[in-house]
Each structure stands twice: as structure tokens, then as C-alpha cells.
């Protein structure tokens, strides 16, 4: 008899615990503390992989090392060259942003991590990384690999954290098409193949197979402009209200072990613009839903700023670049193009 009472008591207790864990975050502390107990298990479970990596590193021939070194050197050289180009682009971008009075996008620092386990739950796509609360990880941080966005931290344990991949069917990533800025939400597919589906995209939208999708920064979870996926197929079904668009994530979800954790955007504290400056995540150039004080302040300020800034930039050799670049960066903003059109001919005429 007592057995029945005990099981009934435990069922009730479990139901209460599950309800509390699902609805409130009282139990996060308990989870974190229990995480200390389970950390060694993950550590031991990861040992074979670690040993095999160690063996790969140690038992490698001299010739292979030289070859690898050579190819890494070349790769570094290419990367450095691209970085140089990038430096030029970044400074140009910064000048243009200054023209528009938009605050510069902040580059957060990164924390390297390794994937040490994957979720054994067939219904979800999550991975475990070897960084946790003791390393300063907080929920919501974005995870990247060398090729693109992978996911975000959903649960922090002391020495490990669970990361939900962007291919999880419960995960939606705000993206935009790199070619034209068309925005969409990329949701993980429900099928067996780990891919992304663009949801609620109108049939008329300009998205083609092969388009690169980058993170749009809307939702303030992921940083802006990180590559996310490549569109693989676009199907216009007359029977469906929206286009069926599938994309393949760029991050190597099931092959990579070395990943990067991105710091949360530091500008979260200054979401409310104090001095009329617009936070980086508000897209002034093509903003459809900016914050209320944002667009008015930004556009008026930009008008003033343009008047001031162009004469300053006039003597420099950047004048040739600016008339070409500014119409690209501010095509949809109402007041700017006309203002620029008024101003731009002057310096070029002056230079002639």
C-alpha cells in the first residue's frame, strides 16, 4: 500500500517541479548547482574525443607538420590581405555612419569553445560546449564557427552550456538577404535534414536560390551581418499563401569542434537613445520599425550633420568615393537622398 502512496507523492512532486521549471525561473539556481554534479560525467564522456585529438596532434609526421604549416601560412596571408581590404572598408563605413549620425556597430570580444557533446534527443538540435557559468557564459550569447552563425546559448551550467542550433525547429533566426536587404525569419526545419526554412515570405519577394542570408540584428539576440545560410531552393506554389524557401546553414554543424562564443552586445544598456544618437541595431537606412524618437532625431541630425561634414571631408581624397557610396547606403530614407543630391554636386563641381 505504501508503495502506491509514495509513487503518487512523487508524481505530484514532479508535476510541481516541471511546472515551476517551465513557467518560472526559480529552479535555475537548482539546475546550476546540480550541474556541478554532472560536469565530471560530461568530462569523462568527452575523453575519447579529446584523446583522439591529442593523438592526432602528437603522432604526426614531420613532413605533415611542414605541409600543414605551409598551408596555414598561405591561409593567413590571404586572410591578412582580406583584412587589409576590410580595414579600408571599415573606415569608409565609419565615415558614412558618422555622416548619418548612426553609432558605430560594436565588435564584441569572443571566447573560444569546443563542442563536447550533442543532444541525444531526436526532436531537438542542441550541442554542449565546454564553457559555462564559471567562464562567464550567459544565456543568449551567440555561437559561431569559422563559416557562420551556429546558434545561441539556452542553458548555462557551471562548466558547460547547452547551445540551441539555428537548425532546431523551435529556433528562429532574423535574417536578411545580403543582396538587397530583404528581411525574413529563418526557422529550423522539422524534417530530418538540418536546414532552414524562411517563414511567411510573400511570393513577390526578391529572393533567389544562391542568395546569401546574413543575420539582420533585429531581435537584438544576434549581431548584425554575420553569414547564416545560403538559399538552396525557392518554390512558388500557387496553392500556398507564401513562398517555400529553404536554406542551407553555412556553419558546419556536424563537423566542426572548435567554435566561438560572442559577447552579448554591449550597447544593450544604451538602448534608449539619450543624446539623440541611434543605437547600432536600429537600421536607419532602411528602417521600417525603428524606435519612436529614433528616425526623426536621426534624420534631422543627419541633415545638419551632412551640411557640416561634407565641407570638412572636401579637401580629403574621399570626396570621389562619397558621392558613389552614399546613394547606396541611404536609398530608402526619405530626406537624405534629396539632401545629398543637393549637396553632392557642389564638391564635385568645386573639384572640377
Amino acid at each position: 500500500m505504501s508503495l502506491e502512496y509514495r509513487i503518487a507523492a512523487f508524481v505530484v512532486l514532479s508535476a510541481a517541479v516541471m511546472f515551476a521549471d517551465n513557467r518560472f525561473d526559480y529552479l535555475d539556481r537548482v539546475r546550476y548547482t546540480l550541474g556541478f554534479l554532472t560536469a565530471p560525467i560530461f568530462w569523462v564522456a568527452d575523453t575519447p574525443a579529446r584523446v583522439s585529438y591529442w593523438i592526432d596532434d602528437v603522432f604526426v609526421s614531420h613532413g605533415d607538420l611542414i605541409d600543414e604549416n605551409q598551408s596555414l601560412r598561405e591561409e593567413l596571408l590571404f586572410a591578412r590581405r582580406e583584412l587589409q581590404l576590410l580595414a579600408g572598408l571599415a573606415s569608409e563605413n565609419q565615415r558614412l555612419r558618422a555622416l548619418q549620425e548612426a553609432s558605430a556597430s560594436v565588435e564584441g570580444s569572443i571566447l573560444s569553445a569546443e563542442i563536447i557533446n550533442i543532444s541525444n534527443d531526436a526532436g531537438s538540435r542542441r550541442v554542449l560546449i565546454n564553457r559555462g557559468g564559471q567562464h562567464g557564459v550567459v544565456a543568449g550569447q551567440a555561437l559561431l564557427d569559422a563559416h557562420g552563425l551556429m546558434g545561441q546559448v539556452v542553458e548555462v551550467l557551471p562548466f558547460t552550456s547547452w547551445v540551441m542550433l539555428i537548425t532546431d525547429s523551435r529556433h528562429g533566426t532574423p535574417v536578411q538577404v545580403n543582396r538587397n536587404g530583404e528581411r525574413a525569419i529563418a526557422r529550423g526545419s522539422r524534417g530530418e535534414i538540418p536546414e532552414l526554412e524562411l517563414e511567411y515570405v510573400p511570393d513577390t519577394s526578391d529572393i533567389l536560390a544562391g542568395d546569401l542570408l546574413v543575420s539582420s540584428g533585429l531581435g537584438q539576440r544576434f549581431p548584425k551581418d554575420y553569414p547564416v545560410a545560403v538559399v538552396t531552393s525557392v518554390v512558388h506554389d500557387p496553392g500556398q499563401a507564401f513562398a517555400i524557401i529553404k536554406a542551407r546553414p553555412l556553419a558546419q554543424m556536424d563537423r566542426t569542434r572548435h567554435v566561438m562564443l560572442l559577447e552579448l552586445p554591449a550597447n544593450e544598456a544604451e538602448v534608449a537613445p539619450v543624446d539623440g544618437s541611434v543605437p547600432a541595431w536600429v537600421e536607419v537606412t532602411q528602417g521600417e520599425k525603428p524606435a519612436e524618437p529614433g528616425p526623426a532625431a536621426a534624420s534631422t541630425d543627419a541633415e545638419v550633420q551632412v551640411d557640416v561634414a561634407v565641407p570638412q571631408a572636401l579637401p580629403a581624397d574621399t570626396t570621389a568615393a562619397e558621392p558613389a557610396a552614399s546613394p547606396e547606403t541611404a536609398p530608402e530614407d526619405m530626406p537624405l537622398p534629396s539632401e545629398l543630391a543637393d549637396i553632392v554636386p557642389e564638391p564635385s563641381a568645386g573639384q572640377d
Binding site: R6, A16, I41, A45, A122, G123
Partner: protein
Amino acid sequence: MDQRNNATWVVYLTFVVAFLLAVVPFPEWAMNYRPQWVAMVLIYWAMALPYRVGIGFAWVAGLLVDILDGSLLGLNAVALAIIAYITLSLHQRLRMFSSLQQSAVVLAMTGLYLMMTHWMKIAADQAVTSDLLFLLGALSSAFLWPWVFVLLRQMRRGFSVR
């Protein structure tokens, strides 16, 4: 003397090994065939030492599985507690069964365990799986049961766990 009499550390050790086997990464295609190690070890000890490994023990073990899985706290706990309850109420008969009959019972119990966790995950919006292929894990558990049973019985006798 006391420690010699009831070497309960063996029970804990087998559970730790079961946790380890439960989190060892499997290739994608074998994901559904993953044997339910924790449930199997629990069934054995609840059958062999019903006065030592009971519902409370199973519940705590399940809580640790929840942390390992990153699932809702209490989800695996209640499922394992129910498995322990069934085993405890059947343990006299289970001990008399042949290994084939025991395998059949293990098939039913691990299947029930997987089904219960699946239902709760769906109720809590934790998983979206349309197929029932994950029940193949019960099949592999039942297939492995005779070996698990013999191994654990050897350990219980060798260390005279009581």
C-alpha cells in the same frame, strides 16, 4: 565491517557508468537505437535490492538525467520513478522469469519510459517529432538486457552488495 556488508558504492558506480553511456555521443543514424542504460540499471537494482533502490532513489537519478539531457527538471525523474514503482511491485515475479521473459518486460518498461518522456516533452513544447522511431531504443534495450543482467548480477555477487 558495515561497509563490507552492504557495498552500496557498487550501485552508485553502476549508475554513474549508466549516465556516462547515456551521454556518449552517437552518430545521427544510430540516435534512435540508443539503449536506455539508466532505466536498465534501475530495473536491475530495483529488482535485486528493492529495499535499497526504490522510488526516491529513481527520482533523484532521474533528476540528474534531466540535467544531463538539458530537459525539463522532473521529466525523466517522474518517468524513472514510475519505472521503479512497476519494478518494485513485480520484483518477486521478475526474479523467477527466464531471461527471454525478462527481456520482454524490459521492452515494455523502457518503451513506456520513452513514451512517457515523449508525451511530457510534447506537453511542455520541448520537442517536435512526428514519428515514433525513438521507440527503437526500447528494442535495443531489450536486446542488451541479458548481458546487462548477467554483468550486474556478477557485480552484485562479487562485491556482495546487499
